[in-house]
Amino acid sequence: MNLTDLPRHAAFRLEARAWIRRHAPWDELARIRRMRFAGQPFETEHRWLEVARQWQAAKFEAGWACLVWPVAYGGRGLSATENVIFQEEEGPFAELFGPFMIGQGFVAPTLMAYASEAHKRRFLPPLASGASIWCQLFSEPGAGSDLAGVRLRATPCEGGWRLNGQKVWTSGAHHSSHGIVLTRSDPDAPKHRGLTMFFVDMKSPGITVRPIRQLSGISHFNEVFFDDVFVPDDQRLGEVGGGWQVALTTLSNERMTLGASTPVGFDELFELARKPGADGAAPIDERGVRERIAEWYAKVTGLRYGVYRILATLERGERPGPEVAVGKLVGARTTQDIAAFGLDLLGARGRAAAGDDEVSQFHEMFCFGAIHRIEGGTDEVLRNILAERALGLPPEPRADKGPFRDIPMAPNA
């Protein structure tokens, strides 16, 4: 099944496979599998972080962490292809990437592009080893899909800036050492031109983190309040007023990572459908069920080979197009559909998870599908991106031109 590997990649794959097979945390395999759809099978979140950190540290020590990063920052200077091959070979253990995804996947490329050399040498290696976790303080109560509408105020002061306001939906803020934060530094400038990006120490005085319970019952997200938080000016990323460009760097990495790395539940459904029921017949024996399974499998392969196409583009030294948004758009909806279908197949058994791992998995998948259609760009935002950037269709008429403070907002906001 590695038809598409070039010879050098095939050799890399074998090497990675052998190393993973010897060093992966096999004792925790059952629990790790259960994490696929944001399940929390470990006794505590702390224990989960510990297992993830150990695996990340082991990879870092042996030179398998952050393969695409420059050697100077803790990586190996390889291409995205090797990175994907390593993830494929990791199999279920790739789930342990969870706590590091934002820091390594989205924040680090932003730091590499905009931070000072000193900061890069100081902060990137611990990010690569898993010693530190970073978060991304972007969304606000009034700025989600319309991210450029953030209001968290950055006011210049002696030696730096004072930050006041609120962020929300911040994944992992409660166990992050640092975060990058998008602020409004000039409310009189037009919306996209009054933004500035910083990175902050999450232990700075004035920062309060409050978890948000998600529909699945688990808290991955947080509200983060900024009360006169001081940030030195050397923690600014990019120009004053240039925050939107910096944010775009982060977002494009976010969409690609989310799309490429997310399971859709096909394997779980396939396994469920092959189990014989009380009457000895398995659901997969029905033609209707077979057809659905075949259709979803064709989506799974389409998504997988789509990632390969993006890698081929990168190998040619080109930038992948907006089509990278396809992965998450299709993946999230497919997860939701598969979960509902699986729950239908489970019948009465699906009505309560009650200690039944198989059922729990479909409950989690059902919740995860709904969340995934929203986080990191809603279905609607992704379709807009595809329509405007891939197809060149005109934008909607805009109601948010002119100075930011004059843009219409909710009457009660």
Partner: protein, 380 residues
């Protein structure tokens, strides 16, 4: 056209809606508890007489008809009521009405007073075929275990069909705590807790036998499906309404998100699915009221389209609410979970679809081919 609720039913509805609007469904539900999760609401429904809606007047109820129960079910769905209103006050009471004369007065009174709560144990693949036996002393026993019965934890009584053909028996079982051994943790529908019901040792009463029992049971199951369809319809409508209100209030890009065509059309599609389901449900109501054979087909189409509508509306409403929609605090996930749970209960969707097509095939086999009238008819 005799389709739709009367003005009297609509005024019942607005009264009930006011009461239910105060429901405290946000409270963490007591999964597996022997009392309805929202105990205060259950008390309020008792006090205002809603639990006795279809209980005969002679026994302290209001003696109202099936249409009133449909109103009850729709409003319970709309309010996400964490009480067994549809299972007990609608489906169970309606089923007993058909054999009213043999139902003990104490049960009627208990149902009206909220202290008794019933469930129908329909065989939708999750009940071991119940067995019935008569002891030497003439006492009747049933055995069998129904799995993951929604609203089972708070049930005090169960109705079921045991045996088949001439040996079929419609049986009323009085449940003791031992019959509900294990509450099921982490229910999908957080407000309709479920548990297994093991019938062994339950005191039972025989209500009807043979073909008559089967016919009664079949109508009871169809009526239950219709009530649940109304519950789904109410839920779908509430989910759409919440989406609509949120989309007017929430601004992005300088305008309410409800002015973006993507969300407008998403909500229009929700409306369309609800409209189709409502039409089918109202026809089901007409069939129920007429005591007509058409109830089988009507209940099936109502169930199928209401299931579809609730799924579309609940998932769509979550999507319109964006990040807020996927939090525990918002109601969206209560609708989203319930839409999935009700899709499979009572009866898996594929069973309803299969039964509907069977009915259509039977009818097609009987239908005369349309031809020109015979000459005699022309002269007639």
């Amino acid at each position: 056209m005799n389709l739709g609720f009367t003005a009297e039913h609509e005024s019942l509805r607005s009264e009930l809606r006011k009461l239910l609007a105060r429901a405290e469904h946000h409270l963490p539900p007591g999964a597996g508890a022997a009392e309805p999760a929202d105990a205060a609401l259950w008390q309020a429904l008792t006090d205002s007489g809603w639990l006795g809606t279809a209980v005969p007047e002679a026994h302290g109820g209001s003696g109202l008809d099936g249409a009133a129960l449909c109103v009850l079910a729709e409003e319970a769905g709309r309010a996400l009521a964490a009480v067994p209103l549809v299972a007990s006050a609608c489906a169970f009471v309606h089923a007993l009405r058909a054999v009213a004369e043999v139902v003990p007065a104490a049960l009627w009174q208990g149902l009206a007073a909220g202290s008794a709560r019933g469930v129908l144990l329909a065989d939708d693949g999750w009940i071991m075929t119940p067995e019935i036996s008569v002891q030497a002393n003439g006492e009747i026993r049933v055995a069998g275990r129904a799995q993951f019965v929604p609203d089972g934890p708070s049930a005090t009584h169960a109705l079921l069909l045991a045996g088949s053909g001439d040996a079929a028996a419609l049986v009323l079982a009085t449940l003791a705590p031992a019959n509900q051994p294990e509450p099921a943790a982490q229910p999908l529908d957080l407000l309709h807790p479920c548990c297994d019901i093991d019938l062994a040792g339950a005191a039972v009463q025989l209500l009807a036998r043979g073909r008559a029992a089967q016919a009664l049971w079949s109508r009871a199951v169809d009526a239950q499906a219709l009530f649940v369809a109304f519950e789904q319809l109410g839920g779908a409508d509430a989910a759409l309404d919440a989406a609509r209100r949120y989309s007017l209030q929430r601004y992005a890009f300088g305008r309410p998100v409800g002015s973006f065509q993507a969300l407008k059309h998403l909500m229009a599609d929700m409306l369309v699915a609800i409209d189709l389901a409502r039409s089918n449900c109202l026809f089901g109501l007409a069939a129920l009221a007429a005591g007509d054979d058409a109830l089988g087909e009507a209940a099936a189409v109502a169930r199928i389209s209401a299931t579809e509508a609730f799924r579309i509306a609940a998932a769509g409403s979550t999507q319109v609410h964006g990040a807020l929609g996927v939090t525990w605090e918002a109601d969206c996930h209560l609708f989203y979970r319930r839409a999935q749970a009700l899709a499979g209960s009572p009866g898996a969707q594929w069973r309803w679809k299969d039964r509907l097509v069977q009915l259509l095939q039977q009818r097609a086999a009987l239908a005369p081919v349309l031809t020109a009238p015979e000459p005699t008819a022309i002269n007639g």
